[in-house]
Amino acid sequence: MKIKVLAFGIAKDIFGNSSVNMELANDALVCNLKYTLEQQYPRLKQLSSYMVAVNNEYALAEDTIHATDEIAIIPPVSGG
């Protein structure tokens, strides 16, 4: 399946864009998405940490991704 990954903060700088399109297996998990992204954008691994949000909720590594989900990379937050 083809998915679109939104990027914010430093993730936007790393991707060079506010979103990237990716090809993932239909039964891909969040941890597979992270692995694939890190292959393509190794600077992601230098972050203190980062989360994946699925449909505006923090997702767990073992959550499944669906083609219709809204996916976003959440680097360490620093609001307030």
């Binding site: 939104l6 914010f8 430093i10 505006n56 976003a72 959440i74 680097p75 609001g79 307030g80």
Partner: protein, 139 residues
């Protein structure tokens, strides 16, 4: 409505926030106002830029507000957060909480700002004379 959550690129209005939470039943209001500091670790900051994943940030702030209402007997609770470019002295965040008794207002207000800084997808970039850095991004 007991809560008002807003993300805005316009200057935040402190007095309006306080007026919104104040009720005839209120005995005390605690307000936290974040301000843009002119330096970080001794280095001069020219300005800050705030970016939000707006839909999710609003959802996370709604969650925090709901948790605070559950934990403490507060009356009204407001969270306003700025986005965009902010100069030193400008206000990125206002949290205002009214309650019949001050303990609840203080505790809920502190809980909201502490939790907001941990979970709400908003990012701050510090702009220095010689570069810029996304706060907390790297170890």
């Amino acid at each position: 409505m007991q809560t008002e959550i807003k993300i805005s690129s316009e200057t935040l209005n402190i007095q309006a926030c306080i007026d919104w939470v104040m009720l005839p039943e209120s005995g005390g209001i605690d307000v936290f106002i974040g301000t843009v500091r002119n330096a970080t670790k001794g280095k001069a900051v020219l300005r800050l830029e705030f970016e939000a994943y707006e839909k999710m940030a609003l959802a996370e702030m709604e969650k925090i507000a709901a948790q605070a209402l559950e934990k403490w007997p507060v009356q009204k609770l407001l969270i306003h957060h700025r986005t965009g470019v902010l100069a030193v002295g400008e206000v990125p965040v206002i949290i205002a909480v009214s309650a019949a008794h001050r303990d609840a207002a203080f505790e809920a207000c502190r809980y909201v700002i502490d939790t907001l800084k941990q979970t709400v997808p908003i990012w701050k970039k510090e702009i220095f004379e010689d570069g810029e850095v996304w706060v907390a991004a790297h170890p």
